[in-house]
């Protein structure tokens, strides 16, 4: 057999690939089955949170901020409980990031508030002296793209079976509703109103009252969902 392969470079290459791939397959496949299961309590992002996630990605927050708390005492002291793989089950893609110019944000919803994020995005130095983060004042005027977020949620629901419109924890009610575009839009606006109520910027409040959702509101919804 080996003699036969030695004389045929193409089949030799195929055989090498198969041998090497085998190790990868037996390492990776069981992990898919085991670890991609969401941790109990993990829910898909709501439309508004998903919109904020898009803002987060669009403005490359992940270039400086990571979202992965490692199991070291020093990390958990500062950021909270270390991250588990199942918590990222509905993150497409995950935003672990590799650099920590700014702090880790995976559990930022536990120790920062709507109000704080508002101040921080308007003028980072006002709450963190010495911060080198730029101000993101355009978040207060730009209108967030809820349509794309709905499209994404609809897609992952249809393609990856992400549990929108499903009773996840078995208490008889739908945990994260998605519904039609009209329903989703109304629900996003409702969430946005709750957040704007905790904010101080009048133009943002006005925009939400008019039925528009500024990027800052969506981003804060996303930040508050990270816990």
């Amino acid at each position: 057999m080996f003699h036969w392969l030695e004389q045929r470079p193409f089949f030799f290459a195929v055989a090498v690939f198969l041998v090497v791939a085998f190790a990868g397959i037996i390492e990776i496949i069981p992990d898919f089955a085991k670890q991609s299961k969401p941790v109990v309590g993990t829910k898909p992002y709501t439309i508004l949170e998903l919109t904020g996630r898009h803002v987060y990605i669009k403005d490359s927050c992940n270039a400086c901020h990571s979202q992965l708390i490692r199991p070291f005492k020093s990390e958990t002291d500062r950021y909270g409980m270390y991250s588990l793989s199942g918590e990222y089950a509905y993150d497409r893609p995950f935003l672990w990031g590799s650099k920590r110019t700014g702090p880790d944000l995976w559990r930022v919803g536990n120790y920062r508030t709507t109000d704080w994020h508002e101040n921080h995005m308007w003028d980072p130095k006002s709450v963190v002296p010495g911060s080198i983060m730029p101000a993101y004042k355009h978040h207060f005027t730009n209108i967030a793209d809820v349509e794309t977020a709905y499209a994404e949620a609809y897609t992952v629901k249809a393609v990856f079976n992400t549990p929108y419109d499903v009773d996840i924890n078995g208490d008889g009610s739908v945990d994260v509703p998605l519904g039609t575009w009209e329903e989703a839009k109304a629900r996003a606006l409702e969430e946005a109103r709750a957040i704007a109520a905790d904010m101080k910027n009048q133009s943002v409040k006005d925009a939400v009252a008019r039925g528009e959702i500024p990027e800052i509101v969506a981003l804060i919804a996303y930040m508050n969902s990270l816990k």
Binding site: F72, Y111, N119
Partner: protein, 299 residues
């Protein structure tokens, strides 16, 4: 040849000295065994590299091919029937033995996990922490509280605790007039763990009464309590001197430890905004330390 060996040893010493100059502060024997092992491994790698290189340079210079030639030859190129070097053979077999041990026994039974390591680290740290700070005095608690404050509280309350222009509670005073007015009008049920009753809103409804109580409390409850405080049922929960009653109403005059614990455990929503809860992120000693620090900056 002798000069080459001497040169080799000098090179090793120079490389080690270089390493020590660059990373010498990590070389405290016994402090962290990982660093010590790394230095030891560094020494081994440098020495082996230098001596092996020297050996081969010597061989290239001096050795002549020798031994019995195999019968076959390929276009005039022959092969000696010399055995493999003993050291290489032993290393090969040794590696095989180690491999089978490691795959079948060593790795599966070592049971290492990063989270296991984390748990051990935390247990060890907590035990050390308990032992070290079991009976910390006030000055120690104050210093500890200050560093805790700068990490956990300063992002909202400001480095000098003035609340950054109304972004959060000004911690240099116990309570502001606005907060008292807000609480009287809207009630409060923030501290469900420590003051489970909560406070209903609208216990005082005359503006004059509300103002009188708010002024008196914001000024540190000095002197005679206003009539509205004693007759408006404020005192039945917060006490006649406004210093609080355990499990019933929090202290309105100073940041006592019960009050601090309540805020940190449950968070708070008042006239300024929401404060997140810090339960689970800080331990009891740290709560006490924060209390000591906050009392020290208020005076």
């Amino acid at each position: 040849m002798k000069s080459m060996w001497i040169g080799g040893i000098i090179l090793i010493v120079a490389l080690m000295a270089g390493t020590y100059i660059v990373a010498g502060d990590a070389f405290n024997l016994g402090e962290d065994y990982i660093n010590d092992l790394t230095m030891l491994a560094g020494l081994a790698i440098i020495s082996i590299t230098v001596f092996v290189a020297l050996k081969y340079i010597q061989q290239i210079k001096n050795d002549k091919a020798g031994g019995e030639l195999a019968e076959d030859n390929w276009d005039g190129i022959g092969e000696y029937k010399n055995p493999i070097p003993t050291g290489w053979g032993l290393a090969f077999i040794g590696t095989l033995v180690w491999l089978f041990w490691y795959w079948t026994v060593g790795y599966p039974t070592s049971g290492f996990s990063q989270i296991g390591q984390y748990n051990e680290e935390v247990l060890e740290y907590n035990a050390k922490y308990e032992a070290k700070w079991a009976n910390a005095d006030e000055a120690t608690l104050k210093a500890m509280g200050e560093s805790l404050y700068l990490v956990n509280c300063a992002p909202c309350h400001g480095v000098d605790a003035n609340g950054i222009d109304g972004k959060a509670q000004n911690l240099t005073q116990r309570i502001s007039k606005e907060s008292v007015v807000y609480a009287i009008k809207n009630g409060g049920n923030n501290f469900v763990t420590h003051y489970p009753g909560g406070m209903p809103g609208g216990l005082l409804y005359e503006d004059a009464d509300i103002n009188a109580v708010a002024n008196w409390i914001a000024n540190g409850a000095k002197g005679e309590a206003p009539e509205a405080f004693t007759t408006g049922t404020c005192n039945s929960c917060h006490g006649d001197d406004a210093r609080g009653i355990a499990m019933v109403g929090p202290n309105l005059v100073s940041y006592d430890n019960d009050m601090i614990t309540a805020v940190l455990d449950d968070g708070k929503k008042g006239n300024i905004g929401i404060m997140p809860a810090f339960k689970g992120m800080l331990n009891e000693t740290q709560y006490k330390a924060l209390g000591s620090y906050l009392r020290s900056i208020g005076e």
